[in-house]
């Protein structure tokens, strides 16, 4: 199934990326090429193959329930583009 410009627009929206018209059509042609390279894998039979998430077989380690962190608000808020009263600010969200 061929990718269309409206698909690019939808994906860009999902990923919250602003793309100009020229960027969109370039993205369309390049991503179409990439997908046809990717589609080579469709030819191999993977029936009954278990998907592999990591190269190694291990299980999750558990952390003790201990508070190890102290208040670093002053340090961390300095990194943010807009703060007030100890809060991060974003353009007003309308519910």
């Amino acid at each position: 199934m061929a990718l269309e410009l409206k698909d690019i627009a939808y994906i860009a929206h999902l990923a919250r990326l602003q793309l100009g018209a020229a960027e969109q059509s370039e993205a369309l042609s390049r991503i179409t090429n990439i997908l046809s390279m990717i589609d080579q894998m469709q030819a191999v039979d993977t029936a009954g193959v278990e998907p592999l998430a990591h190269g190694f077989d291990a299980s999750q380690r558990l952390r003790d329930d201990v508070v190890t962190e102290t208040n670093q608000r002053d340090l961390l808020l300095k990194l943010a583009p807009s703060v007030d009263q100890g809060l991060f600010l974003v353009p007003k969200v309308l519910e």
Partner: protein, 493 residues
């Protein structure tokens, strides 16, 4: 600044980590002298090469001074006072960590990566942070917000990527060693292009805490050095279990230096026929075959093997890595740190312009591929399919390692290519990593060692081992370097 360097310090800049440790111990020169010499050389050559994006001169000198004091007091750690560089993907407290991206151009990390912490504890002196492809997405170091890095062997060529800045810095003697990361070949391919020893350890061997994520299940930190011995020294420092990283593996770290000289007799080397097929430059093949015969000379046995699904590794990788990246990069939203667009009109505008302006084209492309592969209706056909192919690729290696001890072949099908020659066509750029990518998918350790020159440009031999066989890879590379001098060739800036 063009102060004349003394012959002694000029010679010091040629020394690797192991040799520098001996020189410093003998007090041939101090760490401050050495650090100053490096800073001068960086000053001189970095504007042209663009290998460093940040030089931390003052801090480096302070660290060097501390190392000299410790040495005078007899309390210095064995490698204290040796300069090196960090790839700008590792968070360094108080120092900008930009990851090659406009998005993080103003980001001063408030904490140290575990790797950074470990190097500091070893007394190593950080000279600065090296250039890289944006968020490590690239094979030529041309996607960096800070501009491309030039290959010290020929300034019209790429150094490889994504660890291009680290590779160029080490090759041009702007540091004796540098940290790097490898998600699909980002240590090994630049090592090949710049004539260096580069090792990507087993997934889980080095902590990923503080290493900015590209693709979590594939990313792994390693080093670029001028010898296997130096690589062994740095891997010893960096490796080990970290409770802060759930994917860090609690396996003891062997003494890598102790086994460097072990004989190779009886070693079974597998040569994947797919890595010696169409697409491999014949001159590169010739040099690789010559290198392999050196191992034979030392008692190893060569055996052709097949990695049946290796031709699918790039396909599977370009689903899995972008899928993970698409989520890993969602945190760059202009709220808590990093770039925010000017005067957003509303929340959606803020998200979209911040990310549209903050990320470069390649990063946006990969986010979109990953988003698409995970979206409703495509998940099974792309993501699950790619994970199944990943299993097949891993099974190929498991099967191979029942017959052979290590796998060898070219790191890259060719030598370094011209700047700008592949940027218009992502697919040819992606195929750069055709021999290296499967190793990341399987989580195995891989190393590239200089194995010859083709038209005056270096090429690398890739050695792949079983899980946690870093000691063996370093041993093989070291034995090879004892018998050959390819690793001693330098571009001479």
């Amino acid at each position: 600044m063009t102060s004349e360097m003394t012959p002694k310090m000029n010679d010091a800049l040629k020394q690797g980590v192991a040799e520098l440790a001996r020189s410093l111990a003998r007090k041939d020169f101090t760490s401050v002298e050495l650090t100053r010499a490096y800073l001068e050389r960086i000053d001189q050559h970095n504007p042209e090469l663009n290998a460093y994006v940040t030089v931390t001169g003052e801090q480096a000198l302070a660290q060097a001074q501390a190392a000299d004091q410790a040495r005078a007091a007899g309390t210095a750690a064995p490698y204290a006072g040796i300069p090196f560089a960090h790839k700008d993907i590792f968070c360094t407290s108080g120092v900008r960590t930009a990851c090659g991206s406009r998005m993080l151009d103003n980001f001063i990390a408030p904490y140290d990566a575990t790797v950074v912490e470990k190097m500091r504890q070893a007394g190593m002196v950080m000279l600065g942070k090296t250039n890289m492809d944006e968020f490590a997405m690239g094979s030529s170091n041309e996607t960096s917000w800070y501009g491309p890095v030039k290959n010290p062997w020929n300034h019209t060529l790429v150094p490889g990527g994504s660890s291009g800045g680290s590779a160029a810095a080490v090759a041009a003697h702007l540091c004796p060693a540098a940290t790097a990361t490898d998600t699909g070949g980002s240590i090994r391919q630049p090592a090949s292009f710049c004539g260096l020893t580069g090792i990507k350890p087993t997934y889980g061997r080095v902590s990923r805490w503080g290493m900015i994520a590209f693709a979590s299940s594939l990313d792994q930190a390693g080093v670029l050095t001028r010898s296997a011995e130096d690589a062994a020294i740095l891997m010893q420092m960096m490796s080990g279990f970290d409770p802060k990283d759930s994917t860090s593996v609690d396996v003891p770290v062997p003494d890598y230096l102790a086994t460097l000289d072990q004989p190779l007799k009886g070693l079974r080397i597998g040569l994947p026929k797919q890595h010696f097929a169409v697409g491999l430059n014949p001159e590169v093949e010739k040099q690789i075959r010559a290198a392999l015969s050196e191992f034979e000379k030392q008692g190893a046995v060569l055996k052709e093997i097949s990695l049946d699904n290796s031709h699918l590794s790039v396909s599977a990788y370009y689903v899995l890595a972008p899928a993970e990246a698409s989520a890993n990069l969602s945190r760059y939203d202009g709220v808590r740190f990093g770039y925010r667009c000017d005067k957003p009109v509303d929340l959606e505008d803020m998200y979209k312009r911040t990310r549209g302006e903050g990320f470069g084209d390649e990063v946006k492309r990969r986010i979109m591929i990953g988003t698409y592969a995970l979206s409703a209706g495509y998940y099974d056909a792309y993501y699950i399919k790619a994970q199944k192919v990943r299993r097949l690729i891993k099974d190929d290696f498991d099967r191979a390692f029942r017959e052979v001890d290590v796998i060898m072949g070219p790191t890259s099908p060719h030598t370094a290519f011209p700047l700008g020659s592949k940027t218009k066509d992502p697919v040819t750029m992606y195929l750069e990593d055709i021999y290296t990518i499967a190793v990341n998918l399987a989580g195995l350790p891989g190393l590239s060692v200089p194995a010859g020159l083709v038209n005056g440009l270096p090429i690398g031999l890739q050695i792949v081992g079983r899980d946690f066989s870093e000691a063996q890879l370093l041993n093989l590379a070291h034995r090879f370097q004892q018998a050959t001098d390819w690793h001693t060739h330098t571009p001479g800036v």
